[in-house]
Symmetry: C3
Subunit: 436 residues, 3 copies
């Protein structure tokens, strides 16, 4: 893809984030529906509605939450913590409330961030009924004694859990899963960036010739992946590789949290690309915390799902605060993230295993014109070392990715060399996985 | 165990060392008997007597050595190298001698330590008949020419090899072995410290509910372990884990010499505890030298026996000299050593393998009150991360120790999490070893 | 071998190099024949002649090249690039030419080394017909405009590919292969040094009692090994270990390029010797480039062939230039290289697997006089630790080399210990490879 095209995609991802930023999302409710509606302007998502009360493994789909307005009126008549000014002001999933309370009664319902006294924290109370407000710590400090009016016009009623899904059929039924969470309100990196990248990746892949089938999920965190897994258990058998997509819009170095398996093909593919393209990336062993990889990698599924991000879960100061806003994410960061995902997809799409049909001594490459390609115009050139590595290791026990790993050559050079050798009849593809 | 109780144990170990210090021990004889008699004041040791001449594998139980007195009278009439002042003065296992010799004739029978000219070395001649004296190098330098009277009132006659044994029956017949050598005379760290720690560990374990059975051996070095192994070969099949206990009273950092197997459960358990509790510990690969692990780890037995000590074999300047005395060992060092052994026993006693009964996605911990335990009073609290790790890795292929190793969480937290999950029916114990 | 004998061998290797240096070799022709004739003065090589046109796997034996003379006459009448002064002046495998050309027409046929303006490069054109001259860059810069006479009196005609072979029958039919390339003209380190070392190694081994059979190949690079492999495919099954011998005469630190297998016995043996004898050696993973190991390690053969050299392929500035001359290589470097090969051969000849016949506890070494050997005169002494290691690890799963690796003791000490234990009936040899 040209750099110009990538620039455009970066800009369009940022626009999508900007459009979605004002919406108040939660794990259920109209915020999710409105979000998916906007995504549907770009890709043909199917929207699923799962009724409250549906049992999903050890959990139950919760009641649906919707909110119209919320605020606090201070003893001096000032209106603060206005939901309409910033939807982080309300404790997400608050029950409705309208009453007068003393400052002392109010305080247990107020959440602040003393270490960042100007920022509003993001807090939720999904599974325990509560109401509350999130404000800056400075504002909390300035509140006078007296009577406060608290008002939250929200509803928590039987309804549905809403999620979006897009399936792209490839040549085979083996699937690559992309999963992003759509439950966070006005927070850009976590996870409007993930929504934007997943949307544009789906858009891009729709127009490619694909070996794998691709499945994109736009789901609320935790309960969404549990719901999808519970209702689609048989489909998980086709998932060969997967990603949880989040935190891809900030300027931090890349991070990759490996799947529980630790050295699945997707783990090796991502790390290969990061090693060759991104200095200072972080490789993180799987741990059972973070985002929806917790569910995909639970021992009963143990899917090869990793998480490729920039700053990672909880590891940036703006995480889950009002500072995770439109200034934190930038088109150029989104663009590079997008490009990195495309590079990884390129590896898994093209990772094949071949047999050298002339395994005894080297074939004479010169008479096949393969040496003359050395020094050909950039983009089409075939590296001599890549040719020799592919020939030497194509014994049925090494796929192209393992040849790239062992040789230190970029996958793309190895792939081109294999293609050239295939063209002149020196290789044959082996079906199935390599033996080693 | 409370820190106060541990302090008392540290003091009592030191007392035991003080009581045993004056006794002249060797690989046979009354020194061993008197030592075991003192230990029997605390734990119900069985004392075994094996006749001289008994064939034990490639060896033969030697004649019994006893000594009454020994000294040298110099040309000026001075009495030096007096056994009654320090039993290291006599070459251990010396044959009796009483004659007059020139300085030149005497010198080959005198052993000193030029690099520590004030210390008396500890020397033995078990398997080659000889007589000799050990003195300070300074004293040797000052000896005048002339006639010396040498006197050793010792006997080397058919008798017995004496050792002590205590067996504590646990729930299963699988055994943990503790072996300490009782052949060294007035030397504190090597190995009165090992005798004291083994005695107090036996005393402590007698009062515990135990999964494993425990066997304690108080034996002379080399010939003692060979004798026990030869006479108890069938019992070795039950030994699952074992320790040679020595050098646990000095102030050096902890050392662990691994079993010949290298990654036996006991090796992993000890290293886990050391990693979490003791900065700067040393991990030593097995080598076929040192103490009785040489016999337990000979290829025909290959038992999972390691050696957890502070300073290790030969690695402290006072080793096998008169400076390995009551000043080198201290109650607080003995206490911490004891505590570390107890921690390791805690790991092996509690290392089980479980299956997550809700393996598909995470179970909802909140509704079982398991999140509410977070932040409970110290000592009873259950870490959320430990819960998640146990759930994620309880697939039948990971025992709790391997979950602790992979998660980086202390074993004790992992164990408590497993207990809590077991209580609410989320885990089931798997019998047998994990598959992986 | 005594140091004096080694000195003589170093000198004689250097003499052989000096004798061979003036000869113009190529992949075929009389240069190779004359070279082999000189080697035959020392060892009874069989010389093989393979007709041009013989198909060898994917290749064909090329026409034979011979050259009488070559030079260029400048517009001022000066004779330059004279073959008779330095055979590197002619592009190796040049077709005959005799004509007048302008400077512009000449330049594409001139090869120089701008980064070393005084040196003549070594260039070949085996598989594409061409003619050319190699001169110093300074000379190129000084050439005036005008008409040049170019003259190459060479022939490229059906004939033979010539190679030399020597086979030494040992006790078993399992073979060790030494392969050196004989196609380079006046270049000393690459590869007259390899020819000289291989010749003297063959000479030395002819007079030894050998367990393995040894095969020595003196072949042109690439096409020579391909030809030998194609015509002797069934013999490759006997090759247990092998070396490509080159670049063993310069003063650089040792390098070892491992076989494609990576941890074959030969790889372990070489690295063991280098670790114990040569500080700062380089360990190089196999890569499918370099010398004839490319063919021996092609996936259809995958022989355990490595390359032990000093400076390695392409890694010294004089590589493939006129500076790779009689000043670059020295007798003392050749001597140490020879000695190192002998040490490695000593490892593979003596690497056996034994079973400890007294596996339960240590045997009593003292009664067998094995302790008394400690401190015996250097050269015959047996290390106590080596005895204990051999006893401890002789369980049928460790060969002597792996005992040396694990213990950190030199192989030679381990071998002597095993010999001593064998003599007193404590070991028995196990046939076949160790299990682990």
């Amino acid at each position: 893809m040209s750099d110009r095209k990538l620039d455009v995609i970066g800009e369009r991802m940022y626009e999508l984030i900007s459009d979605l930023y004002p919406i108040c999302r939660s794990i259920t409710g109209n915020g999710v529906r409105n979000t998916l509606e906007r995504v549907r302007q770009q890709i043909p998502l199917t929207v699923h509605e799962v009724p409250s009360g549906t049992p999903v493994f050890d959990w139950t789909v919760p009641r649906e939450w919707n909110i119209e307005d919320a605020y606090v009126i201070t003893p001096t008549g000032e209106k603060i913590a206005e939901f309409k000014k910033h939807n982080l002001h309300v404790l997400n999933y608050s029950v409705p409330v309208h009453k007068k309370v003393s400052l002392e009664e109010l305080k247990p319902h107020i959440f602040t961030l003393p270490e960042h006294p100007d920022w509003i924290p993001y807090r939720t109370s999904y599974y325990k009924e509560n109401w509350g407000f999130c404000i800056s710590h400075n504002q909390l400090q300035s509140l006078p004694e007296g009577e406060y009016e608290v008002f939250i016009d929200a509803s928590l009623e039987p309804g549905h859990l809403t999620y979006g899904e897009l399936f792209i059929q490839g040549e085979t039924s083996e699937e690559v899963l992309f999963s992003c969470h759509v439950c966070h309100p006005s927070l850009c990196n976590d996870n409007l960036s993930g929504i934007a990248l997943t949307t544009h990746l789906a858009d891009y892949l729709t127009r490619q010739q694909l070996r794998y089938s691709y499945r994109f999920l736009f789901i609320p965190g935790t309960i969404g992946s549990i719901t999808w897994l519970a209702l689609n258990e048989e489909k998980t058998r086709n998932i060969e590789h997967g990603f949880v997509v989040t935190c891809v819009g900030d300027g931090g170095p890349f991070s990759y949290k490996k799947s529980r398996r630790g050295s699945a093909e997707i783990d090796r593919a991502v790390l290969h690309i990061l090693r060759h393209s991104h200095e200072g990336f972080r490789e993180i062993d799987f741990y059972p915390y973070g985002y929806d990889e917790r569910q995909y990698c639970s021992p009963g599924f143990n899917l090869a799902v990793g998480s490729l991000s920039r700053s990672s879960h909880g590891q940036f100061p703006e995480y889950h605060t009002s500072a995770d806003n439109l200034d934190l994410v930038k088109p150029q960061y989104l663009k590079t993230s997008f490009e990195t995902f495309v590079d990884v997809i390129d590896v898994i799409e093209n990772n094949r295993t071949y047999i050298n049909l002339n395994p005894k001594c080297e074939p004479q490459l010169g008479k096949r014109g393969l040496y003359s390609n050395v020094g050909a115009p950039s983009g089409s050139k075939i590296k001599e070392m890549a040719l020799l590595w592919v020939l030497n290791l194509s014994d049925g026990q090494h796929d192209l990715l393992s040849i790239a790993e062992r040789s230190g050559e970029p996958f793309d050079d190895i792939r081109k060399a294999a293609q050239a050798l295939l063209s002149c009849g020196l290789l044959k593809e082996v079906s199935g996985s390599p033996i080693a």
